[in-house]
Amino acid sequence: MKAKVVLSMLLTISAMGVLIAQTTTTSTAVNSKQSQASQPQSAKAWHLPKGWTADQAYKANCTRCHAEVPKLNSQQTKTIVRHMRVRANITHDEAEAILQYLNK
């Protein structure tokens, strides 16, 4: 019985989450396109701790768990960074900074 309640609550929460996400991403997509057009893709555009650069985001997030990894091309790196964003719960902006650092 309790399990059914938990399952139902999780289903509802995930449904709400997807709906909210859909709404927010639609509105933020316009804003981000505008900001991307006016701003270069630099660390300043992301929410990183003050004074941090992309390589610090890489060191603090990635090398905490594993050694440096061999270089891949930019599209392969993008896949790996997305995988690691989910696996290690990295913030969106730090993942973007890490992607830039790895593609330097």
């Binding site: 999780l10 709400m16 927010t24 701790p49 091309n73 599209q75 790196t77 997305r82 719960n89 969106h92």
Partner: protein, 348 residues
């Protein structure tokens, strides 16, 4: 109750249909490309009266769709060849999906995961268990009392708070699946982590409740700290389950690139130490087939890793286990190769 479940499913279906326009559409040129990654490893363990060889292959397939979707799956095939005196080699192969999940990156702060996934509990299971990442071949005792895989759904993400803190979270529900390739227990749980980026310190707490057979809670705490000044890191994890036991492990690693002699070797090397302890419950409860000691135990390891290439790691370790059945030494030697190949095309 049934109406509530029906309503929940209905809302979920509506939400999925609302996002259908954003549904998987493969856009290779600008986005990521499918990859086959993972590792191949070979480990040997020597302890009195027993030698063990453990070949492992763990292919991971990553397939991104558009900017928001990722399908990821890891199959782990692990051999276990054991030799005891006056006996022929005994061997078995374990095969199973570590995870096979669909990730939807809903927005900056929320990812929805559905399928089979690594249970978000502590730091070892999700982040440190791959053979090419872990410092020692032997998993800590307490991994045996945590659920490692779940089938169901989870919500997770990370939220930056000002300049000094990132809060990351994961909440999951798992259904009961009785299958040797992808079994799981009905359970629900969460992990919340507090990451202080400038201090490079993360502390987290975990909770999970088993919702089948005996309903029981497992709680945990963990921490990782990486020094800003020295090339070293420290990790810690604690877990407790009233019926199964409790324990902790503590691990430190020092990258030796600043050592003044044998520089070509030292800059590729790392020394490691681990100490761990397991406390068996006063009345043994549901140990069953869990890989846990049947009495109180403690163990330490000292090891050395060397990266022959950035993707090839070799390690040696010596450890000693103190346990009621007899204290003994444990030696290990291992080699892992971490690979990443593009699937179909490969991108630019």
């Amino acid at each position: 109750m049934k109406q509530f479940s029906f309503f929940a499913v209905l809302v979920l279906l509506f939400a999925v249909s609302a996002t259908a326009q954003d549904a998987p559409q493969y856009t290779q040129p600008e986005g990521g490309v499918p990859l086959l990654t993972g590792f191949v490893g070979f480990g040997t363990t020597f302890q009195p009266g027993q030698q063990q060889l453990s070949p492992t292959i763990s292919p991971i397939v990553l397939v991104p769709f558009g900017e928001k979707w990722l399908v990821e799956s890891e199959l782990e095939i692990e051999g276990d060849y054991t030799h005891t005196p006056n006996q022929p080699w005994d061997h078995s192969w374990d095969k199973g999906f570590e995870y096979a999940q669909v990730d939807y990156l809903a927005n900056k702060y929320l990812t929805v995961v559905v399928g089979r996934f690594l249970t978000p509990f502590g730091i070892y299971n999700e982040r440190l268990h791959p053979g090419w990442v872990r410092n020692f071949q032997a998993a800590p005792y307490i991994v045996g009392l945590e659920m490692t895989d779940s089938n169901g759904g989870q919500l997770r993400g990370a939220v930056p708070i000002g300049n000094f803190l990132d809060i990351n979270y994961a909440g999951f529900f798992s259904a009961s699946v009785n299958n040797s390739w992808e079994g799981s227990t009905r359970a629900a749980g969460e992990r919340v982590g507090f990451f202080f980026p400038k201090a490079r310190l993360e502390v987290g707490t975990s909770f999970q409740r088993q919702l089948q057979d005996t309903h029981v809670n497992t709680i945990g705490a963990d921490a990782i700290w990486q020094s800003n000044k020295l090339p070293m890191d420290v990790r810690f994890e604690y877990a407790r389950n009233r019926f199964v036991g409790s324990g902790y492990w503590f691990e430190g690693a020092y990258r030796m690139r600043r050592i003044g002699f044998l520089k070509p070797l030292m800059r590729k090397s790392q020394t490691e130490l681990r100490f761990e302890q397991f406390f068996a419950p006063s009345v043994m409860g549901m140990v069953g087939d869990m890989e846990l000691p049947d009495s109180n135990a403690k163990r330490f390891f000292g090891g050395w890793s060397c990266w022959i290439r950035p993707d090839v790691r070799t390690n040696f370790s010596y450890g000693r286990e103190f346990i009621d059945s007899g204290d003994h030494n444990v030696w290990t030697v291992g080699l892992t190769y971490r690979f990443a190949f593009p699937l179909g095309g490969g991108g630019k």
